[in-house]
């Protein structure tokens, strides 16, 4: 069926398989897109307010609760912001453990998103549940890898969810060396599963839509930047200090969204896996670069649907890079370090790459060392504007060539490709009794 000359309205009210409530409204009249908005209707979270009056070392644990999926990233960004404010040093050992912790979480998050939330779209099923019946080997592999990533986080951070071992300056309780050796062994043993993930993802048919945008991520002189670096823009090729984050994000509001939006050198910008791979391809582990080649991901890539495949590339990177870092930790051994600090005044900004993209945290402390002011700019709020720009760019050609249902599906897939985390929600078991 052709959408030409058609008149209809698509209301994607509460798009599924994303975090939180986002709605897309498209009005088509005589085959032309008259209106398209991405509405965000989540209530405010007020986490920044929770930190007011709080002592410095409690902040990372509080703000980590912003998200159950990105808890490590929020905790690390907060640590870095507080440490910058108070001028605290972090040892090489703690930096290495933090990088491991962050990569373990990126593995968790990307595996969950790719296998459980994105793949069903490409297999023509509504969720992972029917996929378990039709492709049990794929789902069993996903379960194995996700569980391994959970265990990886638990070994490094003390818990798989909301790990508490990391604090300002370093580790309260160091990882057990035997557990480190065991997880290293299990990660190495899982490499065939990671290879199979690439092989499987290479068979997914990605929609062919391209729109060049500004790609923004951290960049580091030596590493594939996930834990630190300066902010790199693909538009300028320049590096900007993290402390200038407000000049980067330029947050603004739109009437149809309760979330703030962002723009930098042009109308919108993109953060996340694709932005990172585009900006830092040369820093990827060689195995990840080979994976990108197998997946047909050539940089610069301007197809936002390819963000799913960029996540697969990062899965491979994190697996191999973590193995190398675990070797370093095991060779070097871990020693208990001084993590005390003196509370005091200061202002600082920290940034890390969360699974979904660049994450900023900023804190100001008064003379007594209590937090006066906090600000967190999450990746999804930076991406929302770009998602809507993508939808506006792609919708006319979708409408011209696809049925209404296909337009609906492709818009949902586009939103999901960004892996947005619009809010965090906790659900209890729902039961229906048969009477």
């Amino acid at each position: 069926m052709s959408g030409k000359k058609a008149t209809y309205t698509i209301d994607l009210d509460h798009v599924t398989r994303i975090e939180g409530h986002g709605s897309v409204r498209v009005s088509v009249r005589d085959g032309r897109v008259e209106e398209l908005t991405l509405a965000i209707v989540e209530a405010q979270r007020f986490f920044e307010s929770f930190t007011r009056g709080v002592v410095a070392h409690e902040i990372p644990w509080i703000v980590g609760r912003i998200c159950g999926i990105c808890c490590v990233a929020h905790q690390l960004a907060a640590c870095r912001g507080v440490e910058a404010a108070l001028g605290l040093e972090v040892s090489g050992q703690s930096r290495l453990l933090r990088r491991l912790l962050n990569e373990s979480q990126i593995l968790q998050s990307h595996l969950l998103h790719v296998y459980f939330l994105a793949v069903p779209d490409y297999m023509g099923v509504p969720s992972v549940l029917p996929l378990a019946r039709s492709h049990p080997d794929v789902v069993r592999r996903a379960l194995r890898l996700k569980h391994l990533a959970n265990e990886f986080t638990r070994v490094i951070g003390g818990r798989a969810l909301h790990p508490m071992a990391n604090t300002l300056r370093g580790w309260r309780r160091l990882p057990d060396p035997d557990a480190l050796a065991d997880i290293r062994h299990r990660l190495a043993a899982a490499l065939p599963d990671f290879d199979a993930t690439v092989e499987f993802a290479a068979g997914l048919r990605i929609p062919q839509f391209e729109r060049e945008t500004e790609y923004v991520s951290l960049r580091h002189p030596e590493e594939y930047a996930l834990y630190d670096g300066q902010v790199y823009s693909s538009d300028t090729g320049e590096l900007t200090p993290v402390s200038d984050y407000r000049r980067i994000t330029n947050e603004f509001t739109v009437p149809w969204s309760t979330a703030k939006w962002a723009r930098w050198h042009r109308a919108s910008y993109m953060v996340g896996a694709l932005a990172r791979v585009n900006n830092n391809f040369d820093r990827l582990h060689p195995a990840a670069r080979r994976a990108a080649e197998s997946l047909g991901l050539r940089v610069p890539c301007h197809n936002p649907y390819m963000n799913n495949l960029a996540q697969v590339v990062e899965i491979v990177h994190c697996a191999h890079n973590s193995l190398a870092m675990l070797d370093e930790v095991l060779d070097r051994g871990l020693v208990r370090e001084e993590i005390g600090y003196t509370p005091g005044p200061g202002y600082g900004v920290g940034a890390v790459e969360a699974p979904r993209g660049l994450l900023f945290h900023a804190y100001r402390f008064d003379d007594s060392g209590r937090c006066q002011e906090a600000d967190a700019v999450i990746p999804t709020s930076q991406n929302l504007n770009n998602i809507e720009q993508d939808m506006r760019a792609f919708a006319p050609s979708m409408v011209a060539s696809m049925s209404q249902d296909e337009v609906r599906l492709h818009l949902e897939m586009l939103l999901r490709a960004y892996d947005p985390c619009i809010s965090c929600s906790v659900h209890m078991l729902e039961v229906e009794f048969i009477r």
Partner: protein, 164 residues
């Protein structure tokens, strides 16, 4: 019914959500052939893997929204063969945070898990999770614990005498 596993599910950091962990932790002098496990903070993929490792029936002890008064409990068989109640997987709205026990059971069943799944569900006394402030059970739920433990012991004994 031999080989029964009684598994407590939930998080101690989410108020009454952790009631299953408390209850299973209180179980002692279990009938022969019954073992207890605490699947604390386990996400859906982990729960699915745990279920697939079992060779016998399982009783999941968890906080459950069943439309009852706070602290009331129900024990029912919840797999697709269940006649008393069923878990409701969110097949379309499933998300990272929305993958829960129902989805884990559905995934395990889809992957071939064919053992009976029973649920000892406890209606929370708190209106919802309170992740920042509520470590431990609510006072109302704590007051209900003795009765709930008695109910759980009775449920375990009943299942042990039930045909497989």
């Amino acid at each position: 019914m031999s080989g029964l596993t009684v598994a407590g599910i939930g998080s101690r950091y989410l108020a009454d959500d952790g009631v299953g962990l408390y209850l299973v932790g209180e179980l002692d002098r279990l009938p022969a052939g019954v073992r207890r496990e605490l699947w604390e903070d386990a996400d859906a993929p982990t729960l699915t893997l745990r279920l697939l490792e079992l060779s016998g029936p399982v009783l999941l002890v968890d906080c459950a929204d069943m439309g009852l008064a706070g602290g009331e409990w129900r024990c029912f068989r919840a797999d697709p063969c269940g006649r008393e109640g069923r878990l409701l997987p969110r097949s379309r709205t499933v998300s990272c945070h929305g993958l829960g026990v129902a989805e884990a059971v559905a995934m395990a069943v889809a992957l071939g898990f064919d053992r009976p799944v029973h649920v000892f569900g406890v209606q929370p006394c708190t209106p919802g999770p309170e992740p920042l402030s509520a470590r431990g059970l609510s006072p109302a739920m704590r007051a209900r614990l003795p009765a709930l433990v008695t109910g759980l012991r009775h449920a375990v004994r009943t299942l042990c005498h039930a045909p497989a």
